[in-house]
């Protein structure tokens, strides 16, 4: 019977603080906004009995969803979030793969140190790392200063407050999430496989594409999902590095909630965002579960 206590504590916590809140979000997305505290109607008064519950349910509707889908602002924000997250994921993969590959092929005594050097920035505050780029990318920032002193450019580049700055920010912030799963799948590949291919006359690039890369696919998928899913809903990076052209749904949700105080619309935005991400999230969970079964 004791095992039920072990299960119950984390289970009840997650039900209460993770699962139930989603139902509340969904419920409020069906409500109407109003100038009151809390800023939505109807609110349920259970003391009113069955009739109160019936009138309550009859007041819920899908108006907010209709509003989101009729206003191009929201549709564009979803599309552009997916596009920005997708491009950033590919860039992160292209930059992360050679690093992870180099680490996996590094001398044994170096690997633990290299691994720690990748993890260290991930432990450092996200906000601080994004902030560090403002000083580098802005018009009178360090990058422009450096390039102009080197004589590469004569006019300062405008990078800050554009989508390019957002790409840089996402790639930089999420790079460790890409490198770690890539590294762990690349490290498992036995070097003798590649040696065998080379002994049989395969040029290195062919050995890479036919042996190393296919064997690292699990890491590629895990890394891409770990970058893509949170990046779609990213708020801090587009808010601090992006400009008026940067349309991202995390930012839209934030301003709907904090600036417009329209909780029902913000909730509907969150529900649709969750629906957009549900397939990649389930895919990610399946991969994690498979890995656990394999390790057992």
């Amino acid at each position: 019977m004791r095992r039920w206590y072990v299960i119950a504590a984390p289970y009840i916590w997650l039900l209460l603080f993770f699962l139930i809140p989603f139902f509340i979000v969904f419920k409020i997305s069906l409500s109407d906004s109003t100038r009151a505290i809390p800023p939505y109607i109807p609110t349920l008064d259970i003391t009113g009995g069955w009739d109160a519950i019936k009138t309550y349910v009859s007041q819920l509707d899908f108006e907010n969803y209709a509003f989101i889908f009729s206003d191009p602002l929201y549709i564009n924000a979803y599309w552009s979030s997916i596009k920005i997250a997708g491009i950033s994921t590919i860039l992160t993969l292209l930059i992360g793969y050679p690093i992870a590959y180099g680490m996996a092929r590094a001398p044994h005594e170096w690997r633990a140190t290299l691994m720690m050097l990748v993890i260290l920035p991930f432990w450092t505050s996200f906000l601080i790392r994004v902030y560090a780029w403002i000083g580098i990318l802005k018009k009178e920032g360090l990058l422009n200063l450096f390039l102009m002193n080197m004589g590469v450019i004569s006019e300062p580049l405008t990078i800050m407050n554009t989508n390019i700055a957002v790409y840089i920010g996402i790639v930089y912030s999420y790079l460790p999430f890409m490198i770690l799963p890539l590294y762990s799948s690349l490290e498992k590949i036995s070097p003798s496989l590649i040696e065998a291919a080379e002994d049989l006359g395969s040029p290195p690039w062919r050995a890479f594409w036919q042996i190393t890369f296919p064997l690292s696919l699990a890491g590629v998928f895990a890394g891409c999902l770990l970058v893509f899913i949170p990046a779609v809903g990213e708020f801090v990076i587009p808010d601090l590095l992006g400009g008026s052209e940067t349309l991202m749904i995390g930012k839209t949700l934030w301003s709907e909630f904090f600036n417009n105080s329209d909780w029902p619309v913000a909730s509907a935005v969150a529900v649709v965002l969750l629906l957009v991400l549900i397939i990649p999230i389930m895919f990610f969970q399946r991969m994690q579960a498979n890995e656990r079964e394999a390790a057992r």
Partner: protein, 267 residues
């Protein structure tokens, strides 16, 4: 093979680490800048650190942040360790799929969704927002990270030592305290440190869960950053980076020592 770097691997590692570290390095260097203008180097100075010490607002926020992080990391580590044991050792119980789903989904869930949903929960149950709502929010997402860290360790240790203890008549609780816990201790410590830094860093979820009287450091830093880059933010960032770096180095030292001792013991 594998005794030295090939030029390609060495170059990609060097470029990669340059990309990861140069921005942080520049931020640290410019925190010692005499000039208020970020791009003008006015000589070395520690005056921005001195001015932090008189900034009551920031110090208050820092104190709140550390307390939130300490409490939430401790609870999250306990819940996360239990969750890891459930995931690895208990195969059959009703709702197992849902349970593992709730552990892994928060790892990738966009923070705005988690933050909004927790806030609406607190409003729905009429719970006043403030210190404790931030703590509860942080426990919720960091316990999942803690569970993943501990789970990895539980998966690769030899289950037969636990079975041996049970065969010799130890109760499950005794077995856990005297056999399992010492073995997974390094992972539990890293889980705590991870939960602590996650809480220290969090801006988005804390912004939703905060209330009057409880503002955390990231929220304060964020509102200042929106007004522009200042050497003071660089200084406080540098202090936070130094603390985290020290913590991670200590943790990895502990882990490595434990591993060495374990492998020496096995011989």
């Amino acid at each position: 093979m594998n005794t030295r770097f090939s030029w390609f691997n060495a170059t990609s590692i060097a470029l990669g680490f340059a990309f990861l570290y140069i921005p942080i390095l520049l931020l640290v260097i410019y925190s010692f800048n005499e000039s208020r203008l970020v791009t003008v180097w006015g000589g070395w100075s520690t005056k921005w650190y001195a001015s932090l010490l008189t900034n009551e607002d920031l110090l208050d926020a820092a104190w709140v942040t550390v307390r939130v992080a300490f409490i939430s990391a401790t609870v999250a580590t306990i819940l996360g360790t239990l969750a890891a044991i459930v995931l690895v050792r208990m195969n059959r119980f009703p709702g197992r799929t849902l349970f593992s789903g709730m552990i892994f989904a928060p790892l990738v869930m966009p923070e705005v969704i988690t933050g909004l949903s927790l806030l609406l929960l607190f409003v729905a149950i009429n719970f006043d927002r403030g210190f404790w709502t931030i703590v509860m929010a942080h426990i919720t997402f960091s316990m999942c990270f803690a569970a993943v860290v501990v789970q990895a360790r539980l998966l690769d240790f030899d289950k037969s030592v636990e079975e041996a203890a049970m065969d010799l008549g130890a109760t499950p609780v005794n077995t856990f305290m005297q056999v399992t816990l010492p073995i997974i201790a390094p992972a539990v410590i890293s889980a705590w440190l991870l939960a602590f830094t996650l809480s220290l860093d969090d801006l988005v979820i804390a912004s939703f869960a905060q209330g009057p009287g409880a503002t955390t450091l990231p929220i304060k830093i964020y509102s200042q950053v929106r007004r522009g880059v200042t050497p003071e933010i660089n200084a406080i960032s540098t202090i936070m980076i130094a603390i985290v770096t020290l913590g991670v180095l200590t943790a990895s030292f502990i882990t490595r020592r434990a591993q060495q001792r374990a492998s020496a013991g096995a011989k």
